[in-house]
């Protein structure tokens, strides 16, 4: 039986179309491969950066003066912002929770509930997010501008290891100071809560504190404090990584600062999820 095939001339447009589709597909595949390759390169860069930071931390000639200066900078410059944040956290949480608790006649539980939620979750996470914005962006912008204006190279030719002088000191200072700032924010949060409780009630400071701490065990502090240390390390590492690896132009400084905040905030939340899961298992 004779088969009828379409004439070649009629097939040509279809072939062209097929060629276009295959080219688009191959372009997309190549773009996807390039993206995957870039992601892997970035990931390797991050791992290398963390490894170098850890290695330099334990090397000789630790820059102690710069470390103390960075601790002072981080603590001193962030203190007013953290103070306001801490008080507002406690105040708002109390004002918002009070009506719901009052419905069940559980007003007396208010100090304990606020203290537990502040110490276990809200204090560390909100303070860390504020620090990611303030400290992370500051580190990204500072190191980024130092890179653009050749200051990091100037350090290298002055026989100074910039990783040791700039990165290690900042990461360690953030790892030490951010947990302390979080504890400070927790304390101010409880004071804010006491102020909130006194807006529509009358409770003495001593009574409020004793009620708050009667619901808290030492074990409530430990996981929160441990995750605070990780928050500090993450914020310091991300800020320094983004700044240290900024591009050459002035726009890179803005990009470094911006991406440091975004990535540090995201990682703080991811670390928090992991920490909550681990705490839940214990």
């Amino acid at each position: 039986m004779k088969k009828n095939f379409a004439p070649v001339t009629r097939l040509v447009p279809d072939l062209h179309k097929a060629k276009e589709i295959s080219m688009k597909l191959s372009e997309k595949t190549l773009a996807g491969t390039a993206e995957a390759s870039n992601f892997l390169t970035d990931f390797a860069d991050v791992l290398l950066f963390i490894t170098r930071t850890v290695k330099e931390t334990f090397s000789r000639n630790f820059e102690f003066r710069e470390f103390l200066l960075q601790c002072f900078q981080i603590g001193n410059k962030t203190l007013p912002l953290i103070s306001v944040t801490g008080i507002i956290m406690g105040l708002v949480l109390t004002i918002q929770s009070r009506p719901s608790l009052a419905k069940f006649g559980a007003d007396a539980m208010l100090p304990g509930m606020v203290a537990v939620s502040l110490i276990r979750e809200m204090g560390p996470v909100i303070t860390a997010l504020i620090c990611a914005g303030k400290i992370g962006s500051g580190m990204g912008a500072e190191l980024g501008s130092m890179k653009v204006t050749e200051q990091i190279e100037a350090m290298e030719v002055s026989s100074t290891n910039p990783m040791r002088f700039l990165v290690v000191t900042r990461v360690l200072a953030a790892t030490l100071m951010i947990p302390i700032l979080i504890l400070y924010a927790d304390a101010l949060g409880i004071i804010g809560s006491w102020i909130g409780a006194n807006i529509k009630g009358d409770v003495t400071f001593t009574l409020f504190f004793s009620q708050a701490f009667s619901h808290i065990d030492f074990i409530d502090f430990v996981p929160a404090f441990i995750k605070s240390i990780f928050f500090g390390a993450v914020i310091g590492l991300v800020g320094c990584y983004k700044g240290y690896n900024a591009g050459r132009g002035t726009e890179s400084v803005g990009i470094a600062a911006n991406s440091a905040v975004v990535l540090a905030s995201l990682l703080v939340l991811i670390v928090d999820v992991i920490a909550v899961q681990i705490t839940d298992l214990l």
Binding site: E150, A154, S158
Partner: protein, 258 residues
């Protein structure tokens, strides 16, 4: 291409003992584009070698390779007989103590005062100095660059010329044996450029340094050069003394020296 001839070098200087930097067949590329192609040159003790060339001809890359800030793909760089490419980080750090590098932007540390900027390399390179000796040294170099009054100022309070001079002071405070100047007069007015060129000569005489001066400022080259090398497309286009360059009929050389 003109065959390079070193008619500026005196027979005494060609002695290998006097060679402080020796570069052979240096190659460096960025993203597939070759910036330096088989570049060879020598720097002799006590001389000012000016490296001329258009923007993008690889001048800055050359001195960044000498100090180990960039790794070349091929060739060798010997500084005081040590191959820069084979040094471990500690040895490279030791070698850098003998080299002063003046950055194009000055690269002063923004968060530090002028005094702290000068103290920074001094504390790390001249560790044996006491505080009084450090202060004395800082005062001396600031007087040498004519800016003793600026000791407590922040870099943001300084003009472009002042920043360059403070940067120069920070470089010479550790008594380097080799000076590498990256575009020392770029962005400065003619009067300040002349002042910087005079300072370069003063440093050469006072501290007996050998210098490589990267520039495209002909006035700076005229005032400072003992010998000139012109780079074009990552290669040595012409080498000689100032007279040879000024008498050249080559269109590219003439476009620089008109």
């Amino acid at each position: 291409m003109i065959d390079p001839q070193t008619d500026a070098i005196t027979p005494a200087k060609t002695n290998s003992i006097n060679r402080v930097v020796e570069i052979k067949n240096l190659r460096k590329s960025f993203g597939g584009q070759e910036v330096l192609k088989d570049l060879s040159l020598q720097l002799f003790n006590g001389e000012n070698l000016v490296v001329l060339g258009k923007s993008g001809s690889g001048k800055s890359v050359l001195i960044k390779c000498i100090v180990g800030l960039l790794n070349p793909e091929g060739g060798t760089i010997n500084v005081f007989g040590e191959n820069v490419g084979t040094l471990n980080p500690d040895d490279l750090s030791e070698l850098r103590k003998k080299i002063g590098f003046l950055f194009q932007s000055g690269a002063l540390y923004d968060s530090m005062t002028v005094k702290q900027n000068l103290e920074f390399p001094l504390r790390r390179i001249r560790k044996v100095l006491t505080k009084a000796e450090r202060d004395e040294k800082i005062k001396e170099v600031l007087e040498n660059v004519g800016l003793a009054d600026a000791i407590n100022k922040m870099p943001s309070q300084l003009s472009g010329g002042m920043r360059k001079r403070i940067s120069l002071a920070r470089t010479i405070v550790v008594d380097p044996l080799i000076m590498l100047y990256d575009e020392p007069t770029t962005g400065l007015d003619p009067v300040t450029s002349d002042e910087i060129s005079l300072l370069i000569n003063k440093i050469q005489k006072k501290y007996k340094t050998a210098s490589i001066i990267i520039t495209h400022d002909i006035e700076c080259a005229r005032q400072t050069a003992n010998r000139i090398i012109m780079l074009q497309d990552g290669e040595v286009y012409l080498e000689g003394n100032l007279e040879r360059f000024e008498k050249s009929k080559d269109p590219l050389i003439k476009s620089f020296f008109k």
